[in-house]
């Protein structure tokens, strides 16, 4: 099980939890299982085509998946996966 870090704006889908444990061998599976456990969260992270939205960064063990294999990036047990908005609101 990987640990998925949830940013503040998505915690309404995780009952306020900032971390959840999710099974998945790659990011695609992980996001599918995250959606199954917390319905509604995936459409905030991915667009209609299933790709990660332009303004969302997903990190596996501190590496941006855009620089790895994107949704096919392998996830190992005990990896930390972070979902981080590209920006922080407020000026």
């Amino acid at each position: 099980m990987a640990t998925v870090r949830i940013p503040t704006p998505l915690r309404k889908f995780t009952q306020g939890k900032d971390e959840v444990s999710i099974v998945g061998t790659n990011v695609r599976e992980l996001l599918a299982n995250l959606e199954a456990a917390h319905p509604g969260i995936r459409e905030k992270i991915c667009d209609e085509g299933g790709a990660v939205r332009r303004f969302v960064n997903v990190f596996v063990a501190d590496e941006d998946i855009r620089f790895l294999d994107n949704l096919d990036t392998a996830v190992k047990d005990a990896d930390e996966v972070s979902i981080v908005p590209a920006i922080a609101g407020g000026r």
């Binding site: 309404k12 939205r53 303004f55 960064n57 941006d64 981080v84 609101g89 407020g90």
Partner: protein, 341 residues
């Protein structure tokens, strides 16, 4: 219009009327050759208004105009609030010699504080989420500003909480202006942006559209424009808590800024990140205005209003705000893997 009195620690000035510079200063300025300034802060405000001819083609009969806030010396609209906040705090005596100004900011306000602080001799500490784009951190540091990072997972609200803790743990060291709750923030626009737009459109402005960050721009400008004429003032907010419109706030899911008064905007437009980003790209390619995503969202909002008017067969003069330049948001190059946004 003169927004700014003389700089300097401890000099009395302008809490009530920022336009009232001492007579000697006004005279010196009147006699100075055009374009010559005593201080960089004298370049803040009085920004150009530019017409968006290419975007306007989508709403025939309606004029679209934009305030070029990137022309401020710190590069963004936030110069106005930063100058007014620091001037007012010095005048009240809240900010005394030897104290540091500390605030939470995701970027532009930090750069503005850093620039104004360097100009007026006020040391600055900034608390910002670690995922703020790298160029912003570097610019603030260049002015000698101290940076403290808060958890990127907690966003700008986390930075606010972190800043408050630093202030509480170090009594007497910091002045915390809290831009979200500071009346000087919206007053900068009440006395600056609002009357400038009125004068530059010769009173023809019918609609004003801008995004909500701290809400200083919309609240101050709208209050003044409502007094000056029959102007519809429209706020733009991201359509969701999870968004990528840097600088803008989704109020329903945020700590509501105390200066935000929901009775002031006549309407709120809910803006998807993609619509704002796409407009920012369009502005660069078709208006030669390379601006940030919040500016893109503002123009996208202005165009929505323009289209609504045009489809109702009405005319209008819609004014919006170009908050900053796009180069403040350059994405890292592919080989620069270990960046922080």
């Amino acid at each position: 219009m003169n927004l700014h009195g003389p700089p300097g620690l401890g000099r009395p000035a302008h809490v009530i009327d920022p336009a009232a510079a001492p007579a000697g200063v006004a005279l010196a300025r009147a006699q100075a050759p055009q374009g010559r300034m005593e201080s960089i802060v004298d370049l803040i405000g009085n920004t150009p208004l530019v017409r968006l001819r290419a975007i306007e083609a989508d709403c025939l009969g309606v004029e679209l105009w934009a305030k070029c806030e990137f022309s401020n010396p710190g590069g963004s609209v936030k110069d106005r609030a930063a100058l007014r906040i620091i001037r007012d705090a010095l005048a009240r005596g809240d900010l005394k010699a030897g104290m540091r100004l500390i605030d939470s900011t995701s970027g532009n306000t930090g750069i503005a504080y850093s620039m104004v602080g360097a100009a007026l001799g006020v040391p600055i500490t900034l608390v910002l989420p670690e995922n703020v784009s790298a160029p912003r951190k570097q610019v603030s540091r260049a002015f000698g500003t101290e940076l403290v990072f808060s958890d990127p997972m907690e966003g700008s609200d986390g930075a606010i909480v972190h800043a408050r803790r630093v202030v509480d743990e170090n009594p007497g060291i910091y002045y915390y202006p809290n831009q979200y709750a500071n009346d000087s923030n919206w007053l900068a626009h009440y006395h600056g942006t609002g009357p400038e737009i009125w004068a530059q459109t010769q009173g023809r402005v019918t609609h004003f559209v801008t995004g909500v960050g701290t809400s200083g721009t919309i609240i101050g400008t709208a209050r003044r424009l409502h007094e000056l004429g029959d102007v519809q003032c429209i706020a733009v907010q991201p359509d969701d808590a999870m968004h990528g419109l840097e600088g803008l706030k989704h109020i329903p899911s945020s700590i509501v800024p105390p200066i935000y008064d929901e009775t002031v905007p006549d309407e709120t437009l809910w803006m998807p990140t993609e619509e704002g980003w796409d407009m920012a790209e369009r502005l660069a390619k078709h208006e030669a205005l390379f601006v940030g995503h919040s500016a893109g969202a503002n123009v996208a909002g202005a165009l929505r209003i323009g289209k609504r008017l045009a489809s109702a067969g009405q005319t209008g003069v819609v004014v919006t705000v170009l908050c900053d330049r796009g180069d403040r948001y350059f994405a890292p190059l592919r080989w620069e893997k270990h960046y922080v946004w």
